[in-house]
Every structure is written in structure tokens, then in C-alpha cells.
Amino acid sequence: MPGLEDLYREIILDHYRSPRNKGELAVPPAHKVEGFNPLCGDEVVLYLEVNADGVVEDLKINGQGCSISQASTSMMSAAVKGKPVAEARKLIRAFKALMSIHESKLDGESDGSDLAADLEGVKLGDLEALQGVVKFPVRIKCATLAWNTLSQGLDESEEPVISA
């Protein structure tokens, strides 16, 4: 029986109370992307600035939601800021692998072996504190929201810009 302390590690509550990189960036040059959790209404807003070298030069976060979704957003921002897009994508895959080993079991679709490969050789650091979320399946979507939104934002940032 998992306890609350598995879910609410100290580092998570710290990010929740003092989110890193909170704020906005001018759009453009930054790209703004929003993510919703349809089930609970959690909202993540990301401002992404990817420079010509393909590096996430700046990143600000906003939104509202539970401790898990907001802490995950904050931790994501700290982990991704200043990193090349390719590395950010690796992190996304690794983090989702961490979370989805459980989810995919629920779906009965995979035994998680592909996922293990995604995790290999990626240093998650503080992010591993979110692993306890896996024991609370409903909260997994809280933790992954920021990462799905980031993934969408990176895709959109890389699309050719069509001026209105």
C-alpha cells in the first residue's frame, strides 16, 4: 500500500511551492504552447525559445494545477532549459517511459521492454522523485502533462512559421 510520502517527496513540494522559471516570454520570438488535462482541468503554459543552433535558449512556465503537475512542469523547465532540442526530446522519452511502464500495462499493449530502452543512459536526476507517482495511476497524467506539452511545443517550434 503506497503512502502519501511516496507521492509527495520533499523535492516535489519544494518545486510546487517555488516553481522555477515561472513567467512569460514575448511571442514572438518565443513560441507559446498550452496543455490541458481534460479530466481535471490542469493547465500548463510554456513559452519556448529555440535558437538557430537548436538549443532551448529560454523557457518560461505558467498555468495552474495540482502539486504534481506544477512540480513536474517546474522540474521539466529546470532540466530542459539550455539543452539542445535533441537532448530535450530524449528526456521527454525517458520521462514518459518512467511513467508509462505502468500506463502501458494498464492498456495491455506492451510489456514495457521498449520503454526500458528509452530510459537507458538518460540521467533524470531530481525528476526521479516523480517516480512515486506511478503508484497512483490517476496522477500519472498530472506528471506527464508538462512533458506532452513540451513535446508539442518543440514540434511546433520546428515547423516553418507562417505569418498571418
Partner: protein, 410 residues
């Protein structure tokens, strides 16, 4: 007679279980209610002893199943004051009831530019079907705003209703608890030439209902929120109106004749029930209505008001302004759903910590995102009380919330 909660809890098998070693404090009946054993036994009884497809069989068990199903329809009709059981269409849930109106009545009667008036406290079930219609047909959606005390702001009702073809609103908000006064709203809408749809999903389980007294044109509700099973809801509408509407879904049971070149629909209410109906669920619905009638809806209402008043007072006494309550303070204009929020502690986290104490409350937007946006929040916690809840449950909630505050204290 007052409601004897201790005895009632014994009728509901789920209260024998524990969560995390604690007794179950179920405060989420606004999402779905628990079921008494009599409802489960009624359904099990059909499956074990009288099961066969309804309406089309000549043999004994098919006839038994048909009578059980149609008998349940008569019970539900009586429970809400419908003049005839042919005016009760069984659907999957209140959501389908509303979609039926949107697909059948509205598509046959509304054209581009026709206004539909909704309120800003509607459940998505009474918003999205109209969005879909608006996208398809270009009807115009108008919104009744709210007052500062979480009630409908009717100061511009006449303008909103001007030219309107439909007024669709909830009799009781699942978020705020707000009761909307159906009869006068209906009169105003009718005077303006608009039809009226009442989303009575939160009303019928908790208050005596008389659809004729309301005078509305469509009334939607779900069994699962009123001690009945999942998989069945109802739409009431007067026979003349249902008769004039085209069918919604096509298939078996809803036809009188089918040819290669067309079909003739069946009589009411079957015209709107395509395919094998959820007839075992229908029997469960009937048993739920029997149970509620034995207790008496006046008693249910009185009991809920007492417990809700107690809970509101206890929350205020313990937490004061640290806890915001979203909904009318006046017990006479509210039901038993209490939405609340702590500053700085998200509803999800509140619910998670309460769960450790065996307390079930809902957290989120409660399928009312337009309302949440209006309130400027993304989520609330919601405790909702029913006939099987008592002041002990309210006390447990208040104590649980103290644990929440302690857990998230800096």
C-alpha cells in the same frame, strides 16, 4: 418520519468496506450515488431467473422480462409526475437525453441564427451538444450570467430570450449546488416562444419532482445518481412533442415497418429506443425509485438540508476564510453539493490526502469548465451529501481537511 441514516447505511453493501483501514466516507454522490442491495438484487434477479430479450418474445421468460422493464418505466414515470409512461424514453444517461433533443428536435426545428439560451453554470452535457449544433447549423448560443452569490442573474432575461427557440438549464448545479427556479423560468421562456429543456440530473435524486408542475418541454436525468445502475437515464417530454419529433437512432424496436425504400417509426416511447434496450438496468432504475419513494423524497430533501447546513457551518467554524466555498450560503436555494478550495492547496492534492482518511470527494472542473473560467479557477474540491450521509460524515470531512492543511503546511 426522519431519515435513519444508520439503518440506511446497512442497505448499501459498499459501506461494509474500508479504505486504507478507515471506514468509507463517501461524499461524491453528485458524481454518482451508491446502490442499495435491493437495486442490485432486482437486476441480479432478472439475469438469474427472467432473462430474455424484451418486446419480441412470445415465451414466458421473454414476457416476464418485458413486463419487468415496462413496469419499471411506469414507476419512473410516476416518480417524476409524468402523465403517461409512454412519455419516458430510456436513454444511456442524462447526456444522451440531451443529445437526443439536440439531434431530433433541434435539428428538425432550428435554423441558422436561431438563438439557444443556456446558463454559465451548465454541465458539459448541456453545453457541448449545443456547440456541436452551433458548428453544424449556425445557431446562436446565449448565456445567462451569474450573480455574485452564485445564482442566475436574470436581470437581462427578456433580452436573452428575445427570439430564442430554446432555453436549456440545470435545475440544480452540480458544482455550486445552486437551485434554479424552474417554473418561472419556464413561463418566461414560453412567453417568449421558446421551448424549455431542464437538466434535472442533480435535482431528481434529491428533491420531489413534478414535470407537469414545472411545465417544461424536456426533462433529462440519470439513474446512476439516484441509487440506480449505470447505463440508463431518461428523457421526459409530453407525448405530442415526442410524436412530432423525428426518430434519433435507427434500428430494431424503434420501427413499425421497414422496407427497402424506407421505414415507419414505432409508437412512443419505443420510437426513440433503437436496438436492445438496457432493460435489466431499467428494472434496477425502477427498484431505485421504489427505494426512494419508500423513504419519501420530502424526507430525503429535509435530511440533506440538515446535513448540508451542518457541514457548511462546521467548515466555516474550523477554517474561516482560509477555505473558500463556491455556492450560495442560503440553504433554501442550494442542494447538498459543496465546492470549496484552500488557498495554495490544489483540489487534487486535497482529495488525495482525504483519501488516506477514507474520505471520497471529487476534485477538478466537475464537467463545468465555462463556469470554472468564470470563477477564475481551474478546479475545486466538492463534497456532496446524500440520504446515506450524516453529520459524522461531515465531521470526518472537517477533520480530514485539517490533515490536509497540516500536510501541506510549510
Amino acid at each position: 418520519m426522519s431519515v435513519d441514516v444508520e439503518r440506511i447505511k446497512k442497505d448499501f453493501p459498499i459501506f461494509e468496506r474500508e479504505v486504507h483501514g478507515k471506514r468509507l466516507v463517501y461524499l461524491d454522490s453528485a458524481a454518482s450515488s451508491q446502490k442499495p442491495a435491493v437495486v442490485l438484487d432486482a437486476m441480479d434477479g432478472v439475469y438469474r431467473d427472467h432473462y430474455a430479450n424484451v418486446h419480441r418474445g412470445v415465451y414466458t421468460i421473454a414476457e416476464e422480462a418485458t413486463q419487468a422493464y415496462e413496469g419499471a418505466r411506469a414507476k419512473v414515470a410516476k416518480f417524476v409526475g409524468a402523465p403517461s409512461s409512454s412519455e419516458i424514453v430510456f436513454t444511456r444517461n442524462a447526456t444522451e437525453s440531451i443529445n437526443l433533443v439536440a439531434y431530433s428536435w433541434a435539428r428538425a426545428n432550428l435554423k441558422a441564427g436561431d438563438p439557444i439560451v443556456l446558463t454559465q453554470l451548465e454541465h458539459h452535457a448541456n453545453v457541448v451538444p449545443w456547440h456541436i449544433l452551433a458548428a453544424e447549423r449556425g445557431v446562436e448560443l446565449r448565456w445567462i450570467p451569474l450573480t455574485a452569490d452564485y445564482r442566475l442573474d436574470l436581470s437581462h432575461l427578456d433580452e436573452l430570450l428575445d427570439g430564442a427557440k430554446l432555453l436549456a438549464f440545470s435545475a440544480m448545479s452540480n458544482v455550486l449546488g445552486t437551485i434554479t427556479d424552474v417554473a418561472p423560468l419556464t413561463q418566461a421562456a414560453h412567453a417568449a416562444g421558446a421551448k424549455v429543456l431542464v437538466d434535472a440530473c442533480q435535482w431528481v435524486p434529491h428533491e420531489p419532482t413534478d414535470v407537469k408542475e414545472w411545465g417544461a418541454d424536456f426533462v433529462a436525468f440519470s439513474a446512476h445518481k439516484m441509487l440506480g445502475p449505470t447505463g440508463i437515464g431518461a428523457l421526459w417530454a409530453p407525448a405530442e412533442l415526442l410524436d412530432a419529433m423525428p426518430p434519433f437512432m435507427g434500428g430494431g424496436d424503434m420501427i413499425r415497418d421497414v422496407r427497402l425504400d424506407g421505414f415507419t417509426p414505432n409508437d412512443l416511447p419505443w420510437k426513440f429506443e433503437a436496438g436492445t434496450p438496457a432493460f435489466v438496468e431499467g428494472v434496477g432504475f425502477g427498484a431505485a425509485v421504489d427505494y426512494l419513494e419508500a423513504i419519501g423524497m420530502d424526507n430525503v430533501r429535509a435530511h440533506e438540508r440538515a446535513v448540508t447546513t451542518y457541514a457548511l457551518d462546521a467548515l466555516h467554524d474550523r477554517f474561516g476564510d482560509r477555505l473558500t466555498i463556491y455556492g450560495p450560503a442560503d440553504i433554501d436555494v442550494r442542494g447538498s453539493a459543496i465546492s470549496f478550495a484552500f488557498e495554495g492547496i490544489h483540489a487534487h492534492d486535497v482529495s488525495q490526502v482525504l483519501d488516506e482518511d477514507g474520505i471520497c470527494v471529487r476534485a477538478g472542473h466537475h464537467c463545468a469548465k465555462p463556469l470554472m473560467r468564470l470563477l477564475g479557477i481551474s478546479a475545486t474540491s466538492r463534497a456532496s451529501f446524500y440520504l446515506y450521509n450524516d453529520t459524522d460524515d461531515a465531521d470526518a470531512l472537517v477533520d480530514g481537511l485539517t490533515h490536509v492543511e497540516q500536510f501541506f503546511a510549510l
